[in-house]
């Protein structure tokens, strides 16, 4: 298929895909990678703040816990949080955007005004406020992130649907007498699906980053969770001597988010329907 050939030529996108698959595998088989599961939560104090060594690949943190084990377990947490948030954001944003884009009654106006209000406040600030008001903890952080991210999907879908709705082929279909629902789901949705996929991929990376910030600020995951942001915050005081406890979780964030960004970037070029369907 032409699309696969073109994708393979785009090296950064392939690299992105490889990273994502690696991260997913790590998340899925985390327990196998860590000999004893409780090394994640309990470490012996005497092994405290040890540099990376054969025994502790990433060294140990201030409580003597194996940084490598915590980073690996953190992968699972980060992916699950990001997936839930993006899924929730899509579940709210896409139907709203679809409806607002295709119809032009007061309903669509209302949805777009509400979206504008949510987008009027920088996302993290709003998320912080919502998270705090709902009581701290991972669940409220995830709800806050989803609540502040759905408007981005809504606006993307709205713009795409409006563009497609004014396209000539929709007018031609109306000319043929096709029903609105048929046009919407058989024709508009496939043309809109691609930008949603691109947005979702970039969204995964973005959400992992934002969750890490919440974790760092102590608003997201609570100790002893192996959350990357939290790990960085906890080991910050022991700098610059024990640099490893800070560096490796940060690198984990960097590589994972990089993977999603590269793959999302590559997808954006492939969104052209010409490639997707021809021989």
């Amino acid at each position: 298929m032409l699309i696969v050939k073109k994708f393979l030529r785009d090296f950064p996108a392939v690299l992105g895909l490889l990273i994502i698959t690696a991260v997913c595998l790590i998340a899925a088989f985390a327990p196998l990678l860590i000999p004893d599961a409780d090394a994640v939560y309990f470490g012996n104090i005497i092994d405290r703040l040890k540099p990376p060594s054969a025994e502790y690949w990433f060294g140990t943190d201030n409580l003597g816990r194996d940084v490598f084990a915590r980073v690996v377990m953190g992968t699972r947490g980060a992916l699950i949080v990001a997936l839930t948030v993006v899924a929730l954001a899509i579940a709210i944003g896409v139907p709203a955007g679809l409806y607002a884009g295709y119809t032009n009654g007061w309903g669509s106006e209302l949805i777009m005004r509400v979206t504008d209000v949510f987008l009027a406040v920088p996302q993290l600030i709003l998320a912080l406020a919502i998270a705090q008001l709902m009581g701290r903890g991972l669940e409220s952080a995830m709800a806050a992130l989803a609540l502040t991210y759905w408007p981005f999907f809504c606006r993307t879908v709205y713009g795409e649907v409006r563009r497609v709705r004014n396209a000539l082929f929709v007018e031609a279909l109306q000319g043929l007498g096709a029903s609105t629902s048929r046009i919407l789901f058989v024709h508009v949705l496939p043309n809109v699906a691609s930008p949603i996929i691109v947005r979702a991929t970039i969204g995964m990376g973005f959400t992992i980053l934002t969750t890490a910030v919440l974790g760092f600020l102590g608003i997201g995951a609570a100790p002893p969770s192996p959350d990357w942001g939290l790990a960085i915050a906890e080991s910050r005081e022991y700098l610059p001597e024990s640099w490893w406890a800070v560096t490796f979780p940060g690198l984990a964030i960097l590589i994972t988010v990089l993977g999603f960004n590269l793959f999302g970037d590559g997808l954006r070029d492939l969104v052209d329907p010409r490639l997707r369907r021809s021989r």
Binding site: I125, Q132, L133, L209, L217, G218, I253, L254, L262
Partner: protein
């Protein structure tokens, strides 16, 4: 033009009203018992009752809203639980610090990002372009708080070139307050020593903050220039004998910058978001660090006040961006 500005201001009103409604709902709906939350964790029942009366929580909802709007109009957003000072004045006092930081970051991001993006587009698919693409994607993937810590380790702990934290050396009087922006005030008062001191303090936070902005400005400038290069008026300019350098750096760049202005408005939002973490790490006395401390002490009034005020600033910035965009693009100003 004034007609356009006036119209744009009036257009912003619904958004601000929406902001009021949003914050109102957040306070009333999200926490289980709003008055207990407002009164603070270890407040006495009497204090909680006093809060309930002050905010009229037992009144009908619309009446509560009227009270709330009245409070916001009087800039009475309640007192902070810790400092017991009016939250509004706390934030107002800290605002210039955040504005100076975000503008420094935005300025740096634009001054470096736009030329980088243009060159990447002009030498399309060259090694420079590929390197630039990886660097920018990487720039967007770096967690700003982690990068800040790395900078601290290298430049202040190890090399000791730059101060570890804070906005100004301790114990030394800051520049006399004119605009509240240290860099500007120190220049206005021709105190170059103060300027240098403030400059050394702002480098690391501003650079950390600008990383994400620089990456996205470079990316959408590159996309904008590439798209503009395909336009007919570029082919015509070439055929009519315009010098190639002028085609790129005058004609193509201006078109893509005009298109980029709206993106910069959106970018300002993400800058303020990441300012929260960056200010916390560098103990930068801005609204961001204030928000963090407010959250950690679950000082609801402060958190809501920050949301409201940042929302207002963001609306003002978007108006400024739209006005600048209208001034740059003659077609826009005429239609409104």
């Amino acid at each position: 033009m004034t007609r356009f500005v006036l119209r744009r201001l009036l257009l912003a009103l619904p958004a601000l009203f929406g902001l009021l409604v949003l914050t109102f709902i957040m306070l009333r709906v999200l926490p289980s018992d709003p008055s207990a939350a407002l009164a603070g964790e270890n407040a006495t029942p009497e204090q909680i009752a006093a809060v309930r009366k002050a905010y009229g929580f037992d009144e009908p909802i619309w009446k509560q809203f009227v009270i709330y709007v009245g409070q916001v109009a009087r800039a009475d957003l309640g007192n902070s639980i810790i400092s017991n000072r009016p939250v509004a004045s706390d934030i107002a006092w800290r605002l210039p610090a955040t504005i100076e930081l975000t503008f420094a970051a935005l300025l740096f991001a634009a001054l470096v990002g736009i030329p980088l993006g243009t060159m990447a587009a002009v030498w399309h698919n060259s090694p420079f372009d590929h390197v630039m693409r990886v660097v920018t994607v990487g720039g967007l993937a770096i967690a700003s708080f982690w990068f800040a810590i790395i900078l601290q380790i290298v430049f202040s702990m190890d090399l000791g070139w730059l101060p570890l934290r804070a906005r100004y050396p301790d114990g030394v009087p800051p520049p006399t307050e004119i605009t509240g922006l240290y860099l500007v005030d120190s220049l206005l008062t021709l105190r170059f020593d103060q300027f240098w001191a403030s400059f050394k303090h702002i480098i690391m936070p501003a650079f950390t903050l600008s990383l994400g902005g620089l990456a996205s400005i470079a990316r959408f400038t590159r996309a904008g220039v590439l798209e503009t290069m395909q336009k007919d008026f570029v082919h015509y300019a070439e055929a009519a004998g315009y010098a190639r350098k002028r085609i790129i750096w005058v004609y193509v760049l201006r078109n893509s910058v005009v298109a980029a202005t709206t993106q910069i408005g959106l970018l300002f939002g993400t800058l303020i978001s990441s300012a929260v973490a960056v200010e916390a790490i560098f103990d930068w006395p801005g609204v961001g660090s204030y928000a963090v401390s407010a959250i950690l002490t679950s000082d609801y009034k402060a958190v809501l006040a920050v949301t409201l005020i940042v929302g207002v600033i963001y609306a003002v910035v978007n108006i400024i961006v739209d006005v600048v965009h209208a001034m740059l693009d003659p077609r826009v100003a005429e239609t409104l």
